[in-house]
Symmetry: C2
């Protein structure tokens, strides 16, 4: 398996790397050789489903359920004392989870904390670090997930700026991907902040975080990233690269449950600043309960916590991280690349009416693949009716995510078989046309 992956990495076309169309036999062989194949046994996988939606909502691991059960039991038996006496204690829950996550994003433990929602974290970080003196404009792209724009526009308005003027948007050339050359070219002296996703939510393109950060810094701008679609499946080196700040959620690849509290990273050079959304849970811990009316920020990313953390929503993350740590982020990435390579090769071979909207080079791809077809919505519905769980994304994307945590090569093979049947028989025509879905 190592060999096939090395080949795939070295070659832009996964199909040609194998030299022949992928087969069921090959899928089974690769599953048999997969050192992570047993991870699946640690998850509750919905009966009879091929679950290809782990980048929308990751599945529940037994460890996640157990950690939650323990937290509930501690609420029942310790009540208020849980804040100090629970194991792990609730008072430093966000910081401690940050410590565990630091390795996944390549940061110092003090630079990472868990709390709030991703959107709230964008608000407080953009609100804190936006400084018109660096450059009045914030650079984003037109394929961003909408909430990022809602938050940035709102923060620009809060700062007295007109978003129509202060939001600079890099336009995609093909509607699928954003060219890093275009991003770099758009960074001039008027740009004070660049905020980009690591992986585009629709096409799955993986952006070059290092290059964008360097270009931002060269122009005197700050660089922030939304890692929602990469954390837990793509390793990051945020500190090494010098990224200024980042946000992400834990309910996708990190399997922490619906609406689990989000994560954030702040480079240590920014420690000590008062957050735009200051709150008592970001106060210096030692004096938090002196109840002073003036705010002293914690000397860490912990300052960007705001209110009391939702322990029962955070506990499953504590459990789910056991699985990620046992597997190792490098091995998860390796398997993820192999699975998406395999999927792309199968689409090329078996689905002539579909296009792959995701970059074919592994280094430019996150953990999911955009299978494009004009009837994507109805195809998604037909897949769901067959027990294949995918996301439709407007206007023409069937988003297929073979999460390396619980999806195997044969699963991917079967998904393409289902797609082939749905397309060959125009089975999708039995379904109604409409938009929708939940990321």
């Amino acid at each position: 398996m190592d060999d096939s992956r090395d080949d795939a990495d070295a070659d832009a076309s996964p199909e040609s790397s194998a030299g022949r169309p992928p087969t069921l036999t090959e899928a089974r062989e690769r599953d048999a050789d997969d050192p992570l194949a047993t991870l699946r046994e640690r998850f509750f996988v919905p009966d009879g489903e091929l679950y290809m939606d782990g980048n929308s909502l990751g599945l529940c691991a037994a460890d996640a359920a157990a950690a939650l059960e323990e937290a509930v039991e501690q609420w029942q038996t310790l009540a208020i004392r849980g804040w100090t006496d629970a194991d792990p204690d609730w008072f430093t829950y966000g910081e401690r989870l940050g410590d565990r996550l630091a390795g996944l994003v390549g940061a110092d433990p003090a630079e990472v904390v868990v709390g709030n929602s991703t959107t709230v974290n964008i608000h407080t970080l953009v609100g804190t670090f936006y400084d018109p003196d660096r450059g009045a404009e914030i650079l984003v792209n037109d394929l961003d997930f909408p909430t990022d724009h809602y938050a940035i526009r709102a923060q620009l308005r809060q700062a007295g700026r007109d978003p129509e003027e202060a939001l600079r948007v890099v336009e995609s050339r093909d509607g699928r991907t954003v060219d890093e050359d275009d991003i770099v070219a758009a960074i001039d002296d008027d740009v004070g902040m660049v905020f980009m996703p690591s992986v585009l939510y629709r096409s799955g393109q993986l952006l070059d975080v290092e290059r964008i950060t360097e270009a931002a810094h060269d122009a005197g701008a700050l660089a922030g990233f939304d890692l929602a679609h990469s954390v837990g499946v793509v390793p990051h080196r945020l500190s090494d690269v010098g990224v200024d700040f980042a946000v992400w959620c834990h309910y996708k690849y990190l399997n922490a449950g619906p609406g689990a509290p989000a994560g954030l990273y702040v480079n240590e050079r920014h420690f000590g600043v008062t957050p735009a959304l200051a709150g008592w849970w970001g106060h210096e811990k030692e004096t938090q309960f002196e109840m002073r009316h003036t705010y002293t920020p914690a000397p860490s990313a912990g300052a960007f916590q705001i209110g009391t953390p939702p322990i029962l929503a955070a506990a499953p993350l504590d459990g789910a991280l056991n699985v990620t740590e046992d597997a190792g982020i490098e091995a998860l990435r390796e398997k993820s690349v192999a699975l998406t390579d395999f999927l792309v090769a199968l689409v090329d071979d078996r689905l002539p009416d579909c296009e792959v909207g995701t970059p074919r080079e592994a280094a430019r791809r996150g953990g999911h693949v955009a299978v494009e077809h004009p009837e994507a919505y109805r195809i998604s519905e037909a897949l769901k009716a067959r027990g294949v769980v995918v996301d439709f994304r407007t206007p023409n994307v069937v988003r297929v995510c073979p999460s390396p945590y619980y999806v195997g090569f044969e699963d991917v093979y079967r998904v393409v078989e289902h797609l082939e049947a749905i397309l060959d028989d125009r089975e999708y025509e039995r379904f109604e046309t409409r938009g929708g879905g939940v990321t």
Copy 2:
């Protein structure tokens, strides 16, 4: 019991209402007559403890645990389909909980939603409704819970104002309570917003929401409230009174678990405004998944949701509300007043070295009582060592909360017996001096 409460309500001194010091026999009689006495059986009460801290962290009801277990099971079996197919569905979880809460705060269902933390809700509501054209200053008081000031100061800074100038602080005359006359007198044309707690977190004073709102409106200002220490134990009439907006948490009297998502109310006359912290979960639901980059607010308080809601932290609220609804907020308030009356009378009778820092008139009191003593910290520690769970609040308050959900009159009697023993024997001197605690 009805009689005694009516007396207490009519008379500022609960002791004199009974005409004699409260006794253990009376406590037992009142428990026997208490129509809410059986509620306690629905909660996990920590073994061997007298839990007087339900205004910091309410206890876990069996219904809360069951609702959470169900949500976890739906995550395990439905995964992504939980957003649409779970019962209750996750997509409208915040709105639906808002519907259930509306009666508790006296609002129209569309005016209430569950989401975010209390502090984040203060940020987005103050940030949205602060308008220097109404008056550049925001009126607060010097006994507020600190996070309220952190958020308001931060929002003033976001709006380009110096909090030292734009935050007007009503000063307490006695360090315990805030005189409504002083609040009303402080509202002039420079004040654009009044933001007050319904119940002060330390002394337990219940402010006159209606009077403050009217005074604010008379001066052309908006009125917002933090109901953290009253929701679930004191009925409110927010819509009738015309309050502009309010926030609260659910982990105190509403027993929803540590860090449960918060609640907020926005008067319907403000529907349609774009929130300061806009996010995709506050977008008009029907078009949320069209993934447009321009934000259309939901035509309800739901617009003030921000990110994806933490379902596993919200589910216990859904269960815990069964208990509140079965009891009825009026009956809960009635029992709460009777319990705190009883406690105040016992403190007067048995603890000559302590003072009651809470107003004696029931109409000016929330659900807890501040028992003051210069050695409050060490007394709190001594109480905890005896299994009596209270909060210390700096500098001199033992905060005792006989939650009407699971505390009885004999419990209150026993707490005062413990206090008496600790004071008579100076038992508290065996404990070290230090500040701390978790609200």
